[in-house]
């Protein structure tokens, strides 16, 4: 008998505000430890939080993007637990009155089918700092730069049936939050983190006991962690065992998971309303102003690509889902003045390189302008497709070098010879040096002649060091040989 998998996700999205949710300290990633933590972030005595309006607006924008209800009154609560990277000893979050109510996200699966994933709610909260357990000789270090970074936690209904859907949802969400500009989408920096709740059951039976695997920060790890957990639960149940409600940790490097704590060991967080913050009251006209400012969403962008650029549903989908991808595509298509070629290059050569090197498109060594410039030279016949790949590789391998495609073509001497005078000279030379082959050509039956052209073309290309425009060579050669017959 088969098993059914039930998955719900909780996604922590770091909001792209300049300052923290309750203080004026910077949220920029990568600074030296504890250099971006002010007295409020350190929970010094007597300090008080003041809510960052920008974070509220970003949460509202998210709600509008998924057609959710925006709660006109929301409120912050304190979630109490002790941990060194949680300076106040409580996290300020929203429990009972989240800012974003129920909404929906539609995903598209590989077979082209669509499915709606319901969003239970999304709430605002602060991120914790980081505990550093290495490099301190038996001690732990604390870095509070991240403490107080604004997050929205998005909670789905258990509508996801397998890892593929979870992945499609995660990517869709990534595209949404980056498109509306509320998150930089940098997974490697923890800008989006996934908690997955997984249970399995026989069809038509009640929900099974679920486990939660926390803090997955890449699509691949999330996919693998789900697959692993589903397989584990089925194994346990088929062996007659029972699933324990627990929190699990997945290690992507070793593709292994372990139990972190069981339900019995879970904290009692003693939530209560935060008395330092007033309820957040939002005016309807503020929501309307934000709605009007909402940028193009991936769905609309896809339709535009299909209509304006005549891209296929599939191509348009890939290029429009992710905001960075879409920006890259539009920038390169504009420089190239050719959307179809730009799309082909991005989904072909560029994506292959990005995937194999696990590079984010934002960090691509080849810029959209460079790629556009390269496409211009393909289009005008300056270089062949083969040469273009050489140029692309050169651009990719020298990310610091700001050379344009034209510079590389020049440096490598790759410029295709399209000067008709120069080509005629080359053709004349080769014909003059190939008396026997010309004679054979002249004698041959007309139907055999096209096959015989290969020799001449090869000689001409060799003489031009591969730079002669092959199409022009063919035309000139044919004209000259025919004239000799």
């Amino acid at each position: 008998m088969s098993w059914e998998t039930v998955i719900g996700l909780e996604i922590h999205v770091q909001l792209a505000t300049k300052t923290k949710i309750f203080s004026g300290a910077s949220t920029a990633f990568g600074a030296a430890p504890n250099t971006q933590a002010c007295a409020i972030d350190l929970a010094m005595p007597g300090t008080l939080p003041v809510l960052n309006k920008k974070a509220v607006d970003m949460a509202i924008l998210f709600g509008l993007a998924i057609d959710a209800e925006i709660n006109l009154v929301s409120a912050f609560d304190r979630k109490n637990y002790f941990y060194p990277d949680l300076p106040k000893g409580y996290q300020t979050t929203q429990l009972d009155k989240p800012i974003v109510g129920p909404g929906t996200v539609e995903i598209t699966l590989a077979d082209g089918s669509h499915k709606n994933i319901r969003i239970h709610h999304a709430h605002l909260e602060e991120d914790a700092g980081k505990s550093l357990h290495e490099d301190f000789d038996g001690m732990s270090g604390i870095d509070l730069n991240r403490a107080g970074t604004p997050l929205i936690e998005i909670v789905t209904e258990p509508d996801i049936s397998n890892a593929e859907e979870a992945l499609a949802f995660a990517k869709k969400l990534h595209g949404l939050v980056t498109s509306i500009g509320i998150c930089d989408g940098k997974m490697s920096q923890g800008s989006l983190r996934f908690d997955v709740n997984v249970s399995v059951r026989r069809p038509d039976e009640p929900l099974g006991t679920r486990t939660e695997t926390k803090n997955l920060n890449s699509f691949r790890f999330m996919e693998k962690a789900i697959a692993k957990e589903v397989a584990r639960q089925i194994d346990v149940l088929e062996d007659g065992g029972t699933i324990r409600q627990e929190t699990r940790l997945y290690d992507g490097d070793t593709d292994s998971a372990r139990s972190m704590r069981s339900k019995e060991e879970a904290n009692d967080y003693r939530y209560f309303p935060c008395p330092d913050l007033l309820p957040v009251v939002i005016e309807q006209n503020h929501i309307e102003a934000l709605r009007a400012s909402l940028p193009e969403l991936p769905e609309a962008r896809k339709k535009r690509y299909m209509a304006d650029y005549s891209l296929s549903d599939y191509d348009a989908g890939i290029l429009s889902d992710d905001a960075s991808m879409a920006h890259y595509f539009e920038a390169s298509a504009e420089v190239a003045d050719d959307a179809k070629l730009a799309a082909n290059w991005i989904m072909g050569e560029l994506s292959a390189q990005l995937n194999s090197s696990e590079t984010d498109i934002n960090d691509s060594p080849v810029s959209a302008e460079q790629l556009g410039g390269l496409i211009v030279r393909i289009k005008d016949g300056s270089i062949s497709n083969k040469m273009a790949r050489t140029v692309f590789e050169a651009l990719w391998n020298n990310p610091a070098d700001k050379s344009s495609a034209d510079d590389i073509i020049e440096q490598l001497g790759l410029k295709q010879v399209s000067d008709s005078g120069a080509i005629e000279t080359l053709v004349d030379e080769v014909i003059a040096n190939s008396a026997q082959q010309v004679a054979n050509y002249a004698k041959a039956d007309a139907s055999k002649r096209p096959k015989m052209l290969g020799y001449f073309v090869g000689q001409i290309m060799k003489a031009s060091k591969g730079q002669a425009n092959p199409q022009q060579v063919n035309e000139v050669l044919l004209k000259k040989l025919d004239a000799l017959i």
Binding site: A43, P45, G46, N80, P84, G89, Y90, R270, F272
Partner: protein, 501 residues
Amino acid sequence: MHNKTLTELSKGLRSGEFSSVELTHHFLNRIDQLDGVYNSFITVTAEQALAQAAAADQQLAKGNTPVLCGVPMAHKDIFCTEGVRTSCGSRMLDTFVPPYNATVVENFAAAGAVVLGKTNMDEFAMGSSNETSYYGPVKNPWQTQCVPGGSSGGSAAAIAARLTPAATATDTGGSIRQPAALCGITGLKPTYGRVSRWGMIAFASSLDQGGPMARNAEDVAVLLNTMASFDDKDSTCLERPVPDYTATLNAKLDGLTIGVPEQYFGDGLNPAVEQAVQDALREYENLGATIKDISLPHSNLSVPAYYVIAPAEASANLSRFDGVRYGHRCDNPQDLEDLYKRSRAEGFGDEVKRRILVGAYCLSAGYYDAYYKKALQVRRLIQQDFVAAFKQVDIIMGPTCPNPAFEFGSKGSDPVAMYLEDIYTIATNLAGLPGMSIPCGLVDDKPVGLQLIGNYFDEARMLNIAHRFQQQTDWHQLAPPSITNVSLQDESIAHANGESA
């Protein structure tokens, strides 16, 4: 000089009767010689005070200075002072030196006030007797075997003993009004949101409110003019203009309706205290006021509601004291749990631990609805009682405390008996209303207080009502006998520099 009020001292400075340096020397000298008995200061900032006084004298010479320029005062040790240890009366913060000032401290600094030091208090403001301070109890200058009240007992005793003309204080359930009553001085807890809480170490955030203490209502009005401000660093601070609280001090009281709640005169009220309050009400009738009996039907629920809400908030507010970033840390922690447990066990005193435990219990799964949620519902009922009352009357009056100052140790073993000392003051905090205590008599040779409860943001009217009473009576002018009988050494003796306890 020390018998002059703050307003008189301010005039003396401006008329050139004495300089701020002389005045500051005088009070520092008194603290040095007398506070060994009262223990009202945790930290004395003599050097800094004299520097501020010298700067104030330069300002005064130029003229056109704020009223408080050059006037000495003290801050309760709950307000963070940049570069000066701020202990909150706890071993936990015995070595804590904040890198920032509370907004209240900034406001007084900007006005040119001279800060003599930081006053003693119950640990984290949790107490009604000042017995929970890590730095030892404050003695009531009226009778040193008695408590000064709490938690702002240091500020109240220092003013009563004429060691400072004024001080800041805070009030979460009566911590300004009760010690003001027990020490025979005047204290005001403003409307919640009137005074910034930034830099004021939190006990129970939804109840805490800073306010001034001095010898009379006029001085309190002068202090509140500087202390009250809108502060965008405190989200619960209200953006509302600060009136000149001194402008209406002398307004007539004709037509004033005073509400007297029956619940504030029931069992447990010392009959002699009741008599003093009744005498004060007669005085108000003489001033043209009408007395009206009112009812605050949920008054009896205020103590239980308070002792759920305040500890609940405190249990979270005090979680930050974990030995990780600042404050007390135990020696040689074996692991994280050991660090937490021993740092907190050693850093906090018994009353603080008791309230953290009570608060955590009230918020825990399965008990939240029965305790915390229920207490919030009661809080709303108590607030509605007041809203209904203020539709009938302009101000509410009653005793500040059921008894005059009690002796040390007399309630130490029974926390509930201690909690009942705040029975008349707590409801005001739950409702967020302004409350005030002014001296209205002596019982057993110890002062007792009349409590004034005003409507929201009605501080100017309350100060006017208190001031008119003080123009007719001299309770506020009485000094503790102990301080009038001491002879001080020559004031020219160089003051001990630095900090003394």
